[in-house]
């Protein structure tokens, strides 16, 4: 019998029931989705680091490492394994593509994971194990032949396997390229034997064992420990980078951290709203069922059964919401993490399984327990006292005089204003929830669209504006003199730049020396305003400024890699930059006695001579194109957020609106009897919504900006982002929120047409 009653209750309060289920589904879904995202990424990246022996340290030397050097490193206490390693950008024959040709003498370190084809062999004289993503993007299959060249050296072979490697987990040529572009850049592994065969006898005679510029090491030592031991073992100070200084580690970890950050804000917002909705709604439902509850009690049902009945009602809502939410969560996870999903365009993982962290299940169980307790407590409140007490209908809080009623202004207000004002205060939790829903809606809209504005402005400053050249010509620094480079820059009517690796403490940075006379490259200050470089000192990027607590007026000391020389220069400004770099003009570098070799020429001219000292050419267009997928992902996320915001707004407001409508049903019936028109009563109802909406929007704007700023600060480890909100964002978020509120208000206020005056007034007060 009670069971039948349970289903009738479900049906009777279907609007509330559906609202609660949706809110819980959204809350659980967003919570689970975000946590699945970072956690699965964490697990999958760790798996490929493990499977392909991602190195913990990289020791660099321009003169290369011999097998004896490797032995010395392997002998270090605390080193698990090591390899001699070479990665060099080569040009693909008959194409403008670049392939990072890679050799690892010990594939247990910095190795590969085979996706298709035959296993790698370190004696194979012609096998190429090519990045499967590059192969797919360029229509290359196992068995095809491939020729690449580096300067005068040509390597030809057959693609024997398609692979993935954690060393190229985020496959970009350098930090300035934000997203991988497999149509033009990939990597390939060949065996040491094939490498040696490819190098002419003459070269080898001269270079000896110096083919390998790197020793990659697996070790659990700290960087300081390792640097000390390695320098001692090798008898020289070497440039040593740990894994946190590689793109493939840092950016992937950054993505996980980002997920954790995002996962700790949005889901909390949704879950909080879901639980608050549940609390208010359950209270209202049990309140309006109070006489029924009393009847059960009077009939002789034990309190325990009645409590169980309503707890079960809450639990059913919780379970249905959770089940739906788990679906949404996995859907969200799948949307971001799938072979052709958004994240796959960035991180090159062999598989995209979804994992939910254990704590999410615990939280979901706790949510259901909590909801059941809410149901339990709401009904217990109604059960208090004797059966006769319980039989008495629930009386809402008495109206109290508001302090502001004493003011003159209040007395002159229209009755509808007074009515609504008192009603808002009488039902504080309902008003508060309405505000909360609107603020939440605003936060999602401002946050989501603001994120896009910020990214747009970031891309516009750093790429559209700062890159004022059409081509970037990379020179072979080992074979080009500065005079030749100057001449080339002159001939191409371009500007040029020289790069040097430097160290501050034990961290690696890049020193960039520019000669800009034709405005081909521009720089932005910390406020993302374009500035002209001055010749009076050095500029540092905001991350160096932050890490070393430096500002304009201080001085900075750094040393070029591999030497003990220390250079101290005045800091005259902070730049917002994609790379961790120190920037200065050539004029200043000359004055300060800093030597350099020109590595890049920036030009608009198409007639760039091929070969010679030119390594390769990159076009601005190819750089900009690589953002397309990224922006695509961004837009999808924004859409998701906007849809979530609208659903949230509609569900919360509709639920509360129905509640308010039910509570004022009798009052509205009275007004109708007295002779008020439906439209007038509708306006009365909607006006309260509109007030709360306006207040909610006023709170929501700073709240949205605050949340966005928090996110941007939390994400700043990857790149500096300056919060930008476009006029469209303001307009759309305010109008959309207002529109949702108005639409819901209209939907509810229309219902008063159907008020049955006779029935409404027949019931006892």
């Amino acid at each position: 019998m009670l069971l039948k009653k349970l289903f009738r209750t479900l049906w009777h309060y279907k609007a509330q029931f559906i609202s609660m289920v949706i809110m819980i589904a959204l809350g659980v879904g967003v919570f689970l989705g975000f946590n699945i995202e970072w956690y699965s990424l964490d697990v999958s990246t760790r798996e490929i680091y493990e499977a392909t022996g991602f190195a913990d340290f990289r020791i660099f030397s321009d003169s290369g490492f011999s097998e004896a050097d490797l032995e010395k490193v392997l002998a270090i206490d605390g080193v698990e394994d090591a390899t001699r390693y070479l990665s060099v950008n080569t040009a693909v024959k008959d194409d403008t593509d670049t392939i990072a040709l890679t050799v690892s003498t010990n594939m247990k370190v910095s190795g590969i994971q085979l996706m298709e084809g035959e296993a790698y062999s370190d004696t194979d004289p012609e096998g190429i194990w090519l990045s499967d993503s590059y192969a797919a993007a360029n229509g290359i299959h196992v068995g095809d032949s491939l020729t690449v060249s580096y300067k005068t050296i040509t390597v030809s072979g057959k693609v024997k396997g398609l692979v993935k490697s954690s060393e190229y987990l985020i496959c970009v040529p350098d930090e300035t390229q934000m997203m991988p572009d497999y149509t033009s850049y990939g990597y390939a592994y060949i065996s040491p034997v094939m490498l040696e065969n490819a190098i002419p006898m003459l070269y080898r005679a001269v270079l000896g064992s110096s083919l390998y510029h790197q020793i990659n090491v697996k070790s659990g030592l700290t960087k300081a420990q390792f640097v000390e031991k390695a320098d001692k073992a090798l008898g020289a100070t070497r440039l040593i980078l740990d894994k946190s200084e590689t793109i493939s580690w840092a950016e992937a970890r950054g993505e996980v951290e980002e997920g954790i950050t995002m996962g700790s804000i949005l889901p909390v917002l949704f879950l909080a709203i879901a639980i608050l909705t549940m609390v208010t709604t359950m209270h209202r439902i049990t309140a309006s069922e109070k006489t029924q509850i009393g009847t059960f009690k009077a009939l002789g049902f034990k309190d325990r059964r009645i409590l169980r009945h309503y707890s079960a009602y809450a639990l059913i809502i919780g379970l249905m919401g959770s089940l739906l939410g788990i679906g949404i969560g996995y859907g969200l996870g799948r949307f971001i993490l799938s072979p052709d999903g958004a994240m796959a365009t960035y991180i090159d993982l062999p598989a995209w399984p979804l994992y939910a962290p254990a704590f999410t299940w615990i939280v979901i169980v706790l949510i259901n327990v909590f909801l059941t307790v809410i149901g339990f407590l709401s009904v217990r409140k109604m059960l208090g006292g004797t059966a006769a007490d319980a039989l008495r209908p629930y009386v809402p809080k008495r109206v109290k005089h508001l302090w502001l009623e004493e003011t003159k202004r209040f007395k002159s207000l229209s009755f509808s204003t007074k009515w609504n004002l008192r009603d808002c205060f009488r039902h504080k939790s309902r008003s508060f929830m309405t505000l909360f829903g609107i603020v939440g809606c605003m936060i999602l809209l401002v946050g989501g669209m603001g994120m896009k504005d910020t990214m747009d402005s970031f891309l516009d400053t750093f790429y559209e504006q700062a890159i004022n050249y059409r081509y970037r010509v990379n020179l072979d620094t080992e074979n080009v003199s500065n005079e030749e480079a100057f001449a080339l820059a002159e001939k191409l009517e371009g500007d040029w730049c020289a790069q040097r690796a430097v160290q501050i403490g034990d961290k690696g940075y890049s020193l960039e020396i520019y000669s800009i006379t034709r405005d081909k490259v521009r720089f932005a200050d910390a406020d993302m305003k374009i500035l002209t470089l001055s010749d009076d000192g050095a500029y540092i990027c905001s991350r160096i400024a932050r890490d070393f607590h430096l500002k304009a007026g201080d001085s900075i000391t750094f040393s070029p890699y591999g030497g003990d020389e220390e250079i101290t220069v005045p800091v005259i400004g902070v730049l917002d930059s994609m790379t961790k770099s120190i920037v200065m003009t050539a004029a200043f570098a000359d004055r300060a006695g800093i030597s350099y070799t020109v590595s890049t020429v920036f030009t608009d001219r198409e007639d760039i001579p091929a070969g010679g000292s030119i390594l390769n050419t990159q076009s601005k267009k190819s750089i900009m194109d690589s953002f397309d997928t990224f922006m695509d992902l961004m837009n999808k996320m924004i859409w998701l957020l906007v849809i979530a915001a609208i659903i949230l707004g509609i569900v919360v407001l509709y639920n509360l609106g129905i509640m308010s409508y039910t509570e004022r049903y009798r009052e509205m019936a009275t007004l109708k009897v007295v002779g008020f028109r439906d439209s007038r009563i509708g306006r009365l109802l909607i006006i309260q919504n509109m007030w709360l909406t306006v207040i909610g929007i006023l709170i929501g704007i700073p709240a949205g900006v605050g949340v966005l700023q928090y996110l941007l600060t939390a994400l700043a480890s990857e790149y500096e982002l300056k919060l930008v909100l476009g006029p469209a964002t303001w307009l759309v978020s305010v109008l959309l929120t207002f529109g949702v509120s108005l639409a819901v208000g209209l939907m509810i206020s229309r219902k008063n047409r159907t008020i049955d005056m006779v029935a409404a007034l027949k019931t006892e007060e």
């Binding site: 109206v399 009755f415 009515w419 009275t670 007004l671 002779g675 028109r677 439906d678 005056m757 006892e764």
Partner: protein
């Protein structure tokens, strides 16, 4: 002249197969300025009659003329206007707005009635001037019903409709409220139609209508109704 005329009025409630005739082909004519009492057992159709006349409900069949105007065919908005201008209601439950004070509850009608009376005067007349800034929940049942009467009369309607106005009050308070209601309405020259179980009230009526099973059983004119003071309560 007849202020109210029911011509062959029926109100049928349909509940699936079941059909309930709350009013069954009723013909009725009421004079202006009269005091009319409706008597009848519970479920007879008294409230239905009053609700139809008050424009809260529409007949299934027949026409209802008030001041010569057919109200059975009005649109919802025209009905609202009719209620605002022409009828005052007093129910068994007081139906005050809990979030408005006593004076505000009465002043409410100024928003819609074409020629309302002063809310202060009305409150003074029902003896609640001192309570005007209280909320309804701060008053007793009898006091709340007096507010309801003040509100009904503040509209300055042609007809005052009262459906068991004392049903929820103890008999002493009930008598007091009834006396007040009647003396005020008579002083103002209103047409009053009241549904009640109080036999004493019937003695004061110009017309007594008895209803049973949705039909008018009798409609007697009393040539010498007693005055309020003459009734032995």
């Amino acid at each position: 002249m007849a202020i109210v005329e029911f011509k062959n009025v029926s109100r049928v409630y349909r509940n699936g197969e079941h059909e309930q005739r709350a009013l069954d082909h009723v013909d009725l004519s009421l004079e202006e300025g009269q005091f009319i009492v409706i008597l009848g057992p519970s479920g007879a159709g008294k409230s239905t009659l009053l609700n139809l006349l008050g424009g809260l409900d529409s007949p299934t069949e027949g026409t209802i003329l008030v001041n010569g105007k057919d109200i059975s065919t009005l649109t919802p908005n025209e009905l609202a206007e009719y209620r605002a201008a022409s009828v005052g209601f007093v129910f068994q439950s007081y139906n005050l707005i809990p979030t408005l004070t006593v004076i505000e509850n009465v002043a409410l009608v100024k928003e819609i009635a074409p020629n309302p009376l002063s809310s202060h005067d009305m409150l003074r007349a029902v003896g609640l001037e001192d309570h005007r800034h209280n909320f309804p929940s701060e008053l007793s049942g009898g006091e709340q019903q007096r507010v309801s009467i003040a509100r009904a009369l503040a509209k300055n309607p042609h007809i005052l409709l009262c459906d068991e106005p004392t049903g929820a009050l103890d008999s002493e308070t009930g008598v007091m409220v009834l006396k007040l209601l009647l003396s005020m309405a008579r002083d103002m020259g209103k047409t009053i139609i009241i549904v009640t179980h109080n036999q004493n009230i019937a003695k004061m009526a110009d017309t007594v209508i008895r209803v049973k099973n949705g039909k008018i059983k009798s409609c007697e004119k009393q040539d010498h109704p007693l005055a309020v003071e003459e009734v032995d309560w």
